[in-house]
Amino acid sequence: MTPRFLTHGLILGAFCLGFGGLLAATHRLTAADIAARTLEDRQASLSQVIPDALHDNNPVTDTVTLMDAEGRPLTVYRARTQGKVTGVAYEIHGSGYAGQIRLMLGVGADGRVLGVSVLAHKETPGLGDKIEAKKSGWILGFKDRMLGHPPREKWKVRKDGGEFDQFTGATITPRAVVGAVRDGLELFAARRAEMLEEPR
């Protein structure tokens, strides 16, 4: 009985070893390419929120990590011209109709929004997905907004008495995005010195 038991174990073990080795080899072979593609993706999403004219460095590799209010690390990408930080970009989150909406927010050194882009969302197709730049121009409306423009109590969708349009049939999604951008700008206001490397 025992020898047969052993045989099965050995067969299973041999297959695990063989396919484990195959996967390890594939991982080695693809790791460099995957890392390069990930970097390109990040570059593409950053270029949507930081205009090229604002920097002569590569913001993807010029990062600083801050701890946010909840103690989670936040990577801030910095655009520089001649060494001076002209703008920053970082990821912000909103809670949408169907889970988390991940956005990238670009802020100029003067506190104005440079651009917002959607990284990932699970909102309803045809309704909430109008936050995507390729579905409608809504998200471009944040450009040049800042805290105080509109005033804080107006940083809401129209339905809540604010100044931003909602979509027909979808209020939760734009509400989440407007809230996320506002929170993002408040984070910038609070952590400005660290993000811009200004002397304290």
Partner: protein, 224 residues
Amino acid sequence: MSTPYGTIMRDGLWDNNGVLCMLLGMCPTMAMTATATNGLGMGLATAVVMAASNLLVSLFRSWITQEVRIPVYILIVAAMVTLVDLCMNAWMHELYKVLGLFIPLIVSNCLPLARLEAFAAKEPVLPSLLDGIFMGLGFTLALTAIGAVREVLGSGTLFADAALLLGPTFKFMELRLLPEQMGVMMMILPPGGFLVTGLLVVVKRMIDVRAGKSIQMAGAHSAG
């Protein structure tokens, strides 16, 4: 006891179609058929995994003992899925951005596992490879058909973003058949998947009945 190649091909594509006849692989079928393009991409990725795992299981069939066959099959399918995932991420990145999230879903598809058990474990290498390819293509066909119906009714387009999946030369496939506001949103939401899949199963059976064939329905090992 080898099955003729013609029968293997016809079984995979139509007579014993994985989705429309055996009702296997419902999880990716529902999740990935909001557009015809997504269905096509998911189907092709599954076909690659099925061909590779059928080939491997058939190759090693004399070493895989009855007692450990299920873990070995799962190991092989999972390894092939990870392999496809890594390779696509590295070398077909545009396609990976469209399908990436759904590649791991292939593991939850019980169609590959069913073919390993029912076919590749008993048959020689060449028929097994053929079975993997044609079962995979039949799966692709079903997913693309379901996706096409849902997309036309739901968004009014057909093969939207096909150029992302297949390359810029296929831009001509991207059609708009109905104006956007005519789309019935339910069709691109999960209920549409069930409705359209059910309807297409009926359509396939009606065609078979017309042709005077006896209906095959292997419902015994469904789910998954």
